[in-house]
Symmetry: C2
Subunit: 408 residues, 2 copies
């Protein structure tokens, strides 16, 4: 599992942690021993793209680990849909063997908690209906790096998110095929196909998530992403898609879809992905991390501390509404003291997609703090401050996502 | 130019021409000499992806030559936007050196036929405005292979087309920056940056196209495609984009944009890309190939003579309106005797994009001829027959694009 494909590996330096050798300005003044130490530390921080993601564009990614890679802020283009080779990857545990995507049509899904339970292949699912949804896929912990409390977990900045198109069969069409769900069902529960090591209680690591029945309305069982067969790195051969809900609820390599009276007994549902107060552990009594809130961030200029020429500048960014369509976005160049309405550009891909925005400005030499704040159709406004929680979920603070540029 | 990148080349067998070795059923009955001959013929038909397109997904493409590659009919996904590595390539002459996309921002564009002529860099263009358009990019000769008259030129079937997103500055914003076009201008003329061999009259091979002023309304100077920097294979660092117009009018590596009283004197404008009557040469008096007509084709099942199981089948395809939004599409399973209205699926990316459609059918064992016909907002209907012309341009015949399947 996660063996490295040496013929295609890309060596990269991670951006987290200590400053790398190349960025030590005064390197000439180091002793040879200190230089060797610095070089050794740099070497340690080089991380390979794992084999299952070896086809990714490494230059566009911050590689945190073999299971966690995010898109760099300046690698989001202006084309609405995130190119697949720049899309973030986040696996809770190691993915199954690449073998399972060799012939996607033979993958089997058990359907339970319905009138006529069945085991059905992807080939059969493809005969039941097909549709495409454009939507934001975002890790629950995106923006965690900005929590001053430094919650444990991957230190995502803005890039554990992308806007993609999933194609598959609507869950509603599948439900019709199996005679409808049981009358007492309260949740849709998806079970991931990751192998569970022998002797382990599955509940300790099984990726199994439950979402409320409202999630069914737009849900898909998807075999395609951005017009390509769904790769293993993104949950192929079959993934449960729940538009508007955070990444973890979109269960990869789904092997079982059940309509249940209770939430999953797996730790990842019972105590994981809960909005626990700071310093407290997750518990079933707390709110589960399901729907995404309204959010936006600036992508161009996408470098914190970028140095730019005085004059005209097109400030660009992304804005998403969560479970309700994004309706507007404002931009500030003074850290949130004053705001101007930005314009959406490019095609509108529907309520679950993000929109690109632009604000043309003319800046004199100086230092500017750029921020953006979005609103959605439900009337939610992107807040100045994050919702504090123990594990650093759902950060949509515009203040946290601001960046400083220098214009010369 | 077009040297092969041996570390990444993909050897493929072209689909045109004689039947390959692998498809000779009775190979066991051939003499050793005949086998050797067949193997040598197969070898000859293997074509490398050229270096500038070595990053393409070779399995998704029919490689006609180093300058002409089309997407296979069954490689169009259901995700509206064509993935870049599956998008067709068509160059009229060999592209410039890959060096020109190393730092796109330094590329220079001359602007003429305006109040204040300038030479401007891509970096400067980026300060003038930015927008994104989703649109069909289609070669003028797409569908040429279906002309019974066998016109000369690449024998494109359906795949010299894709739906992509271009990002750049509106030509109108650039015109505002240079004080507007000359009052006597009748055409927007773009000149490609391909190198012209010494001693040749540039007019004989220069890619220089003129379009009527109506084309300006939605035109861009683009530096990005599908969220990525525009690669050389698709006209990077800068391409003129005229939504609704055939590929050749979207001038690659654009080095000069002029607002002119006359059409370009280049052969490609004067006699090339003209709707000449069959058997006649192109001439300036004939209609130039500019706007695309309404068109559709089926993509799933995407194999001519595909063998399928009786029962439910989701017939899928693509429909485009040309310069007017596509509004509907009908599907026939009996070669056009009867028609049923198909449904559009997935996001609507605007008037210049294509739409995905689906018609669920239940088919008994037998042979079926599948066809689709689209209509647009302007009231144009996709015709049964092609418009005959000497070079095989603008084929939108639904009859020509039909395909036969066998259900067992």
């Amino acid at each position: 599992m996660n063996s490295i494909n040496h013929s295609r590996r890309s060596l990269l330096t991670t951006t987290g942690g200590a400053i790398g050798l190349a960025s030590i300005g005064a390197i000439g003044s180091l002793t040879p021993a200190a230089k060797a130490l610095a070089a050794a530390q740099d070497e340690k921080k080089k991380i390979d793209l794992p084999a299952y993601a070896s086809w990714k564009n490494a230059d566009s990614l911050i590689i945190h680990s073999a299971n966690t890679m995010e898109t760099k802020r300046n690698a989001f283009g202006s084309g609405v849909i995130t190119p697949l080779d720049r899309l973030f990857v986040r696996n809770n545990i190691s993915p199954p063997s690449e073998d399972i995507v060799a012939d996607p049509d033979v993958w089997q899904l058990q359907i339970e908690g319905v009138k006529n339970p069945v085991t059905i292949s992807v080939a059969e699912l493809k005969t039941l209906g097909v549709t495409t949804v454009a939507m934001v896929l975002q890790c629950s912990g995106n923006g965690r790096a900005y929590f001053p409390s430094k919650p444990s977990g991957t230190q995502w900045t803005v890039g554990a998110a992308g806007c993609v198109m999933f194609t598959g069969v609507p869950v509603k069409a599948v439900l019709e095929h199996v005679g409808g769900m049981n009358a007492d069902a309260k949740y849709m529960t998806g079970t991931g196909g990751e192998p569970i090591p022998e002797g382990l209680d599955p509940n300790t690591i099984q990726v199994e998530r439950s979402v409320p029945l409202e999630g069914i309305e737009n849900a898909l069982l998807a075999w395609e992403i951005n017009g390509e067969p769904l790769p293993l790195a993104h949950g192929g051969p079959l993934r449960l898609i729940v538009p508007g809900y955070t990444g973890v609820n979109n269960v990869k390599y789904i092997k079982r879809l059940a309509f249940t009276t209770e939430q999953s007994a797996a730790n990842i549902q019972q105590t994981g992905y809960r909005l626990a107060p700071q310093g407290e552990k997750g518990a079933p009594t707390q709110k589960s991390v399901w729907e995404m809130p309204v959010k936006s961030w600036i992508t161009h200029p996408g470098e914190p501390d970028a140095k730019l020429k005085a004059g005209n500048l097109q400030i660009q960014g992304l804005a998403m509404g969560g479970t309700s369509e994004v309706t507007g976005v404002e931009v500030s160049v003074d850290g949130g003291k004053t705001w101007k309405k930005a314009e959406f550009t490019g095609p509108d891909l529907g309520p679950f997609a993000w929109r690109q925005f632009v604000l043309p400005v003319n800046l004199k030499a100086g230092t500017y703090t750029l921020a953006s704040r979005a609103t959605n159709k439900a009337g939610d406004e992107q807040p100045a401050e994050r919702l504090e929680n123990n594990r650093g979920y759902l950060n949509n603070s515009w203040n946290d996502h601001a960046l400083t540029i220098t214009v010369a």
